[in-house]
Symmetry: C2
């Protein structure tokens, strides 16, 4: 174990073997190649492997030719990850092996039960991704500034943990350490539950008449955005984290039952309070979500500017805001319902808000508060 690696930040020298050249595995290969790290790729699909090689994510595994990788990254679907990791721990007896699946405790448990060498295994989860899948969509920059959770197992060696951290930091990610259980509990709340609520809502729209859908605003669009997710992947994620997810759903069901009871008797004493509490508790929970750059929530104030829907208008608006000397912290478009005007919502530091509104008005922009 190199003293540098166990005490310092550490960088990967390679070689790195990536097993599974889908979106994430190929992106990892591309990112490491961009740092000059030798990468060797393998995938059950010869096509996926060939594409990943062609776009520069690494060499075919055969060319490793008996060499000893520093690290093996298993980027297989969650269902088969544990068995692929176990095989890699056997095939590469001197290498650290990590995985990148969205669920961690089930994989750790399966590996422990298999008798594999747990000192060389570290579960990880890069929280990045695109709607697209497959190697063609891969990009080396995919992990830049995204969270990457590292979950040392009870038997993981310090060296293995450092190697896992180096993978993440070399790819530009922000590393945090959780136990496998803490990880699964966290993602059950911040990732799996939102997916479920979005899908439950969106599935209600299947029979909605189109004229009713014509009234859809940004609220509906925001809540259903992630309902466009991939069923195959999510079956594995929810199946792999079922115990923690279902515990949370018991709480949701309780709240839903209470709400239904209230709406069945909306004039009963206490009905109003019940409804107010649902919304207030939602206010409270939402306010806890960190703001931009992990800072305090709601640290910025919003304003809305109307723009004609002609090319270059948003660019012009932002350029002028820059000329006024104000930084735009966040930006959202609010779509018109059929005419050529759109709303651009901007958030800025509170102490810039009024000055910016005045400056924009002076320059002829139509500003809503």
């Amino acid at each position: 174990m190199s003293a540098f690696r166990s005490h310092g930040r550490g960088h990967l020298n390679g070689p790195v073997v990536v097993i599974g050249t889908g979106l994430l595995g190929t992106s990892i290969g591309l990112g490491l190649r961009g740092r000059g790290v030798p990468v060797f790729l393998s995938d059950p699909s010869p096509t996926n492997q060939a594409v990943a090689v062609d776009i520069g994510a690494g060499q075919p595994l055969g060319m490793l030719d008996g060499g000893t990788p520093e690290l093996v990254v298993v980027a297989a679907p969650p269902d088969v990850t544990a068995s692929v990791v176990a095989q890699a721990l056997t095939d590469y007896p001197d290498s650290v092996v990590v995985d990148i699946a969205s669920v961690k405790a089930a994989i750790l448990a399966e590996l422990q039960a298999s008798g594999a060498d747990m000192s060389r295994y570290v579960g990880t989860h890069p929280m990045a991704g695109r709607e697209k899948s497959g190697p063609v969509a891969a990009r080396g920059e995919l992990f830049t500034s995204m969270p990457w959770v590292v979950c040392p197992g009870p038997d993981s060696s310090a060296d293995a943990v450092q190697t896992a951290r180096s993978l993440a930091t070399d790819l530009g990610a922000v590393v945090s350490e959780f136990t496998a259980d803490e990880h699964d509990q966290a993602v059950a709340l911040v990732s799996h539950l939102p997916q479920i609520m979005s899908s439950l809502l969106a599935s209600q729209l299947q029979g909605t008449p189109l004229h009713a859908l014509s009234l859809a605003g940004n609220g509906l669009r925001d809540v259903t955005r992630i309902a466009a997710s991939d069923p195959t992947l999510w079956v594995q994620i929810l199946g792999g984290n079922a115990a923690k997810v279902v515990e949370i759903l018991y709480g949701v069901r309780e709240d839903l039952n209470r709400l239904i009871g209230t709406l069945e008797q909306p004039l009963a004493p206490g009905a109003r309070l019940d409804l107010a509490q649902l919304i207030s508790e939602g206010n409270a929970g939402q306010a806890r979500i960190p703001g931009k750059h992990g800072g305090p929530p709601q640290a910025y104030t919003w304003l809305t500017v109307l723009v004609d829907d002609r090319p270059g208008q948003i660019a012009r608006l932002l350029t002028e805001i820059g000329e006024v000397g104000v930084n735009v912290e966040d930006l959202r478009l609010d779509h018109s319902s059929g005419q050529n005007v759109g709303m651009v919502e901007l958030s800025v530091l509170p102490n810039k808000h009024d000055h910016l509104i005045e400056a924009l008005n002076d320059r002829g922009w139509r500003v809503l508060q």
Copy 2:
């Protein structure tokens, strides 16, 4: 009844009385004043009324001095709207009276039961709003290109309906006609259910540890965005549309129960299929939501560009995209977790997509697919 008004688009000449100078009432006043229409304002709160007058939304009602308004707009909270409308129909026996509440059938029924003159009443609902409330946040442009639903009652005269439509079109909105029941059913699905699902999810975060929340991505933020809504208003909306909302919630509860059963036995035969069906049905429902400008859903393709979080970077990106000759149809920011790089997601016409990626790469931008 003027022949012009009953056949043509029609415009309001005024005077218009606005009862209730909160955000919407004051915005209506401002918008009409911008067209030179005389407006007279009234509010139970002398402060709200004075503020609305001060910002130019109209004159105090006393100055109407016995004149006959062309139109009375009741912009009161949903709970009291029917009684304020009934009073206005009595006080202004030659005027059309509209309301703008978010629920329609309950108000219509209450008015019919009161024996009011239903020929001069038309329920309406402008689907616009800001997170802020009160007259200070009002803007005359609030309704520009937003949907405004007009709900002729069974006894509304054609003239009254035309006057209601003129209010909406004069304020720049896009008018559609629904019956009161159709309206309530539509908003139950596209507005009230999303609010409920967002609040149910967000309320689960109240006890979530901050380190877990640090993993929050755009998915959670999108689904919980509207959980920041105002409890007082939503108590009235949900209470006023309880029957239709609860019917939909029975369906959601059924789906939730089925999902819970599946997750309690995730290895049982058929469990995988159940999970896949939930996500697929969410896919199908979400795909029916109209795209930008009411066009076909998903008519555009997305790409993501990394930008340094320095002032002017997004402006520069958009300017260069304009120079390449491509129109940005939609834009979203994806926040980094703590470092100074952000992702800008852009949607463009599919036939521009590859050309744009190439052009941006040439200009040194880092593009994810």
